[in-house]
Symmetry: C2
Subunit: 303 residues, 2 copies
């Protein structure tokens, strides 16, 4: 079951941080550009591989934002596939941040593509705008194939409230949706009390995050918005339960671009890339686990 | 401007029908499977090419549902690219049914992929769940690059009401969203009074369709749900304005599988495939334009 695999890995590494691998071309270090000449997609894969090698012992999972691979065409999507495969080889769970959502027969095609086909991931993000029949085909693979989903409930972007914070009856849309998602995941709860049907809830709205943690006590949260988007450890602490579990926090730009803290980032070496990335992952881990501890919780002590 | 190109093409062909190219493997005729041996993706492209050749003089546009290509991996996506390219060569507009939706910097990557990169289309479908900043990057390409978007407002699937028909204040969510989409497209209205910012509104909910036609008088509607999903000409007539314009109606399965009406579809020839597809497109055209005429409108007479 996906939820149990995720939580076991979080506990083993003592870290709820997920490394986002979103290859914006401007992030690729010069030494990789030099080594792979004009082959941007090979450089993307080698960059991802170097980042995975740097922190595979420190993080439970990676998240791949497929848009940045689609923007590079077929070779970009080959780099996505190779990255997902390599991450799994290194013992990491792979979350495909694809935010797909379509009518049921089309959702089946997306499910086949992203769970069982070329883009194979352990879990994917989904958009709930079309309702349950757009989600259901994926749940089948959660039950039978050990896969997981994270359904958008409250996203991290500035205009997320336009729809998500509409008042429906006496609650907000994100609350209504939170209850739905909790319900959809009811039959997929594993040994730690968490479902393989998770939710995406941005760190940039700490009030909503705290609220949704309460509304969906068995739903693991995938929390974007930490780091480059502005949220810190205190903001994301709301995502965790009293045992320090129940969430993973993603950071992409701040980890992939950590080496830019170097005095001369254009001359960075492979060895230095690794060190800067590890340092930033450790800083993020300590920031989040520290904030959790301040609230009286601890991932490592309690388990 | 996309809206004008679309309407000119509809008027020229006297037909608001769009052919959906959703290559479910079960639809590919046997003679194409035989010709291209084990190469399913080549067979998909040749099937699409044959369908385009069959009706290029009869329809203004094709719509490609990318999920069915993603399910076939990289070679499937190559077939998507080749199909889009070939359709444009034959003078058809190409709508990428991708339903993407993500935070702004990610939306830029999707825009680059689907408007200007390998998956280049004239227009794409978008999911509005994340609000305006997920849409805005695409609007830039509508203004500067002559592209178009169709934003999901009321989808054709059975559970679409779960979110879309929630009551927000004294209106339904789809109505609220309809007003938003109309507003987002206000600066992109062309010579026929229609915007390059369109909306997806399913034919399976004729009441909502009529309502949204009134709420968004300058918004072209992309109407799925005709044919295999159950809606007929009378249901979709509500999508059109008093001049018989303002909408395109998509059919995928009923057109791609029209040849299955043959007595022995497994022995169908290229020539017969063409005839069955044309016949079904003509039937659909006459069904829709007939229903429009019954409401006192006519695409061809008025223009």
């Amino acid at each position: 079951m996906f939820a149990d695999r995720l939580i076991k890995s979080i506990k083993k590494k003592g870290n709820p941080s997920v490394m986002g691998l979103d290859p914006r071309p401007g992030l690729i270090p010069q030494f990789l550009r030099d080594s792979f000449g004009g082959d941007l997609c090979q450089a993307v894969f080698e960059f991802n591989k170097a980042l995975i090698d740097a922190v595979a012992d420190l993080v439970p999972a990676v998240k791949l934002q497929i848009a940045f691979y689609e923007a590079l065409g077929l070779e970009g999507l080959r780099a996505y596939h190779r990255t997902a495969h390599y991450a799994r080889e290194r013992g990491l769970l792979v979350i495909g941040d694809v935010k797909r959502g379509d009518i049921s027969s089309t959702a089946e095609a997306y499910r086949d593509a992203h769970f069982h086909g070329y883009f194979q991931c352990d879990a994917v993000t989904l958009n709930p705008f079309l309702g349950y029949d757009s989600i259901e085909p994926f749940l089948k693979s959660c039950i039978e194939g050990g896969k997981g989903v994270f359904i958008l409930v409250k996203t991290s972007n500035p205009s997320s409230g336009e729809l998500q914070n509409l008042k429906v009856g006496d609650e907000y849309l994100f609350q209504y949706l939170g209850r739905k998602v909790a319900d959809w995941g009811r039959d997929l709860i594993g040994e730690y009390g968490y479902s393989s049907v998770g939710a995406v809830v941005g760190a940039t709205f700490p009030g909503e995050l705290e609220d949704l943690r309460n509304i969906m006590p068995h739903t693991p949260l995938l929390v974007p918005g930490y780091g480059a988007q502005g949220a810190g450890g205190t903001a994301v602490a709301n995502a965790f339960d009293d045992n320090g579990l129940g969430a993973v926090v993603n950071s992409s730009r701040a980890l992939m671009g950590a080496y830019k803290l170097a005095e001369k980032p254009e001359y960075i070496t492979a060895q230095q890339l690794k060190r800067y990335t590890r340092d930033e992952v450790l800083r993020m881990r300590d920031d989040i686990t520290g904030a959790i501890k301040n609230r009286g919780m601890d991932i490592r002590e309690k388990f």
